[in-house]
């Protein structure tokens, strides 16, 4: 079942010097529980699409249709943890802003994902991977219907990145969330997503949409070993305009 329909989305940015068409003619539907990745050349309007979806930006044209009132959880590139708050206080930030009282879910998340004993720790004493997990729990705390992930692992080194993407994927699947992830890493997209949208360069329009049907669909690290992984990798690599 589609929970989100985007029709002919267009976004133009205006500055003093010029106007800039970031996204044009962007349409797609998101199914419930689906994980969609958006890939494309860096600097194209990938992040714009996420900002529009969660209401930080207004579209210049086009429609976004929800089948019910949807709550979005936005996870940005850097973890953006507040240095002056401990892990627990960081996690309940969204709840406090929305003036919700129920902190049970956050406590459960912290316990399930191995952060409960660090709840009084300040972010500066956490590793990059742990910070990213705290950031995800902060996003999940308000129990959003759809997660928007904006290159969530790009600040991490390669090893941590694999480990954290594995973690995050498991958490998202276990909590049964739909997710849209923007990334420029083809491998990451194939290993995590059910569908991949390839965008063109400036303005971003849809070039192709791929269903990812791996032989044994499992978790990201296992998926990387799948026989069809390299097939999809080649396909996408050729599809993305890469001018060095």
């Amino acid at each position: 079942m589609n929970i989100l329909k985007i029709k002919n989305l267009k976004k133009t940015y205006h500055t003093k010097e010029s106007e800039f068409l970031a996204v044009d003619n962007f349409s797609f539907n998101l199914k419930e529980g689906e994980f969609v990745a958006i890939v494309g050349p860096s600097g194209c309007g990938k992040s714009t699409i996420l900002s529009i979806l969660c209401g930080l930006d207004k579209p210049s044209k086009g429609q976004i249709i929800y089948n019910k009132k949807l709550d979005f959880g936005y996870m940005l590139q850097s973890d953006n943890l507040f240095d002056w708050l401990n892990v627990y206080k960081n996690c309940i930030l969204g709840l406090e802003i929305k003036k919700r009282k129920n902190k049970k879910y956050v406590e459960k998340l912290l316990k399930t994902y191995g952060l409960w004993e660090f709840k009084d720790t300040y972010p500066r004493n956490l590793s990059g991977g742990m910070r990213q997990r705290v950031s995800l729990i902060r996003t999940l705390a308000t129990n959003p219907d759809i997660l928007l992930l904006d290159e969530p692992f790009s600040a991490l080194d390669y090893q941590t990145r694999l480990a954290v993407s594995e973690d995050v994927y498991k958490i998202i699947k276990k909590e049964n969330k739909s997710a849209i992830m923007v990334t420029h890493d083809i491998g990451e997209a194939i290993s995590m997503a059910d569908r991949i949208i390839v965008l063109t360069d400036k303005p971003s329009t849809i070039k192709n949409i791929y269903e990812i049907n791996l032989i044994n669909k499992s978790t990201p690290i296992e998926n990387r070993k799948d026989k069809k992984f390299s097939y999809y990798y080649d396909l996408l690599w050729k599809d993305i305009d890469c001018h060095v």
Partner: protein, 262 residues
Amino acid sequence: MSKEHQKYLKKRKIIDILIRIIQIIIVLIIIAIWQYAADKNYINTFISSSPKNILKTIISLYKNKTLFSHIWITLYEVIISFTIGEIIGITTAAFLWRFNFIYKILDPYLTILNSMPKVSLGPIIIILAGASTKSIIIMALFISVIITTINTHQAFKETDQNKIRLMQSFKATKSQIFFKLILPSNYNNLINTAKVNIGLVFIGVTMGEFLVSKAGIGYLIMYGSQVFDLNLVMTGIILLITLAALMHYIITFIEKNIEFKT
């Protein structure tokens, strides 16, 4: 704790103590040279005074029971001006952050007011507010508030945009963004601005006391120069230095010991 680490800590502690001792020795040497030069008549004590004379002046001020009243008056004016200045400055900065359009309108006026020598307003302030403590505080506020506002607003404006977007993604209101993000994330900037502010308030209060000439350390200096009692002038300067150092340490102490909690 390993032996090596203990050694390292000990070494660091010794260096810290050494630095303190040298700092104190430097002051003592300066005082000693000053006194020596005065005793040997290398310098004219009528103009440059001497440590002994300054001490005598302080004792005589203490004996006729005016020392602490002058210090207290100056301190009182500084504390009041500093507090009001911080409140007005931070509130105005918050207001300008909230209403960027108004900030853009006021920007050139703030810049001009900031570069104007505020002391020139002195005579007008005295005519309007009378030769009183009120005038001195207004004088100090004129000197400190504008720069506090400009610096604080600048810091507010430079808050990490990604963190603001994060707050917006939770549908935070402007006041939630301000109290949960802008204010706590700028704690260090606020402290630094306060340090600048305390210095400016001292300038303002001293200038005010020069002009009003009724009481306070600024008055002592002014009075001393008028009756050509340079001992009194030097005493006033030393007292001001001591007070300024004291206030600076109080702020540093607050900075080190109070973490911002929301």
